[in-house]
Amino acid sequence: MSVVSGRQPLLKVEGLCVDVSIQGRDYAALKDVSFTVQRAEAHGLVGESGSGKSLALRSLMGLLPSNARVSGGSAFFNGTDLFANNGRNFRKVRGTGISMVFQEPAVALNPIARVGTQITDGIAQRKGWSRKQAREYAIHMMGLVGIPSPELRVDAYPFQLSGGMRQRVMIAASVACEPELILCDEPTTALDVTVQAQVLALFDGLRAELNAGILYVTHDLAVVSELCSSISVLYAGRLVESGSAAEVLGNPREDYTRALLAATPSIDEPGQRLRSIPGTTPALRDRPADYSFAMRIADHAPDSHSILEEH
């Protein structure tokens, strides 16, 4: 990946379609999804369970489950289409170009390898470092992500660290090769709010210092509002709305975005009854190809016998 002109976006996803095959039939899980991530920008990809937000993220790493495939669209990273060349382009960008932070560090980390080794595995091999050099770099990276006394913890195993520390280890591992784009799959969901605040600050620092782009997948509008300057809202595999964070959260155009905001409890204006959204997103198999949020609302109108509340 050589340096390409600074004008083009770091990542430009256009018309992304992902099909999931269930019992021999293909279902469209993502339909015509487009968004861009600029350098030093954090872009939020927001949606409920079943919206396809994690599939979108995984398709950019070539990590789709075996029954899912990209069936259309392009994803240009630094001017190269990741989906072209039969998936071989992924190998060039994984780690150095694009890296990923997963939701559950307890699962994503190797339980029988020391955390220092896991952080530097990729870069040490690439740079031909000695063990000593790798260890020093691991300590440096652990310090960078805010792990106290890294020189003591570099030889620890994941089980010896708390959830917050493990998540930092995973972040250190994912940024060890100084990637240009960091993909985050709800990395703070399992963390305490105090730790979450620290991790969000950490991402913000990496964005500014490494000039890295961040694509941040979450269902939490408040988290997105803290970190991201632009947002795309997904519903049932389709892009509902996208724009700057101020536009989407402050002045949403779409009913779905408004409904999500109304369901989110506010810490500063309590006492109002929350507005739950009628029904749930139907499973992929159970929804028509043109399924939309308006159809969910119509299906669960107050007079139809539903679980919802009229408020």
């Binding site: 979450q196 939490d220 810490i267």
Partner: protein, 267 residues
């Protein structure tokens, strides 16, 4: 026999926990260490209110719930429920009055039983109603948790997370408890679904006079639902008071840290 209406309120507080202490030990030999999970904790829940408990993982929130529901039996201190001190080994009747709703609605229901079977089993084992009234009672419970009657004949696998959590609440309510312990009961749900469960708990408090101990890490939910909040840190309750003043004028340093960490929608 309806026991939701207790003969005479024995005290103003449905629950008083006094000086609860729980210690665990970890490691072996020389590495053996004692961990104080609850350090002489006291907490009172006024009747008919929702009392929030917040704090980070490992602060002792869940241990508190386990002591309360007699899942954790090695503790010192007293649990006074409805004016009566509860022994460590409780009778079925004593257990019935305090019911728990867990975080994961996918693992807390029996996948092989329809909702009707699950509820009917509880009603029979605890002899809540006469056999001939079981069906009617099941319907009432569905109404209370705002699920359609046809949900009674479905299996958990065909339900969404929010519907399952409503079923879990219906199972707790089937035993006509006076106190519900909700341990991170809305944490695993989508925000749109979470809003419905939060509203349901508020309705149950307002309509049935149910008291709830609401353990959560989402402070925004707690602020919108609870009359009182206790903040736990490292096995201690560092601050306990009415929600409004705790959120607007926190006295404790840790409470302030916690409040400053909450992500906010700033637009």
């Amino acid at each position: 026999m309806s026991t939701t209406k207790l003969a005479q309120p024995a005290s103003e507080n449905i629950l008083e926990m006094r000086d609860i202490r729980v210690e665990f030990s970890t490691g072996r030999g020389r590495g053996r260490r004692k961990i104080v999970a609850l350090n002489d904790v006291s907490l009172s829940v006024p009747r008919g209110t929702i009392h929030g408990v917040v704090g980070e993982s490992g602060s002792g929130k869940s241990t508190l719930a386990r002591v309360l529901t007699a899942l954790e039996r090695s503790f010192t201190g007293t649990v006074v429920f409805n004016g009566e001190e509860l022994p460590v080994r409780r009778t079925k009747e004593q257990r019935r009055h305090i019911q728990m709703v867990f975080q994961d609605p996918y693992s807390s229901l029996d996948p092989r039983m329809t909702i009707r079977q699950s509820l009917a089993e509880l009603l029979r084992v605890h002899r809540i109603v006469e056999s001939r009234d079981v069906g009617r009672r099941c319907l009432d419970l569905m109404g209370q948790v705002q699920l359609p009657a046809r949900a009674l004949d479905s299996y958990p696998v065909s339900m969404s997370g929010g519907q399952r959590q409503r079923v879990a609440i219906a199972k707790a309510l089937a035993l006509e408890p006076s106190l519900l312990v909700a341990d991170e009961a809305v944490s695993a749900l989508d925000v749109s679904v979470q809003a419905g469960i939060v509203n349901l708990l508020a309705d149950l408090r307002d309509e049935l006079g149910l008291s709830v101990l609401f353990i959560a890490h989402d402070l925004a939910v707690v602020r919108n639902l609870c009359e009182n909040v206790a903040v736990m840190y490292h096995g201690n309750i560092v601050e306990d008071g009415d929600t409004e003043s705790l959120f607007t004028e926190p006295r404790d340093q840790y409470t302030r840290t916690l409040l400053n960490s909450i992500p906010r929608i700033r637009y």
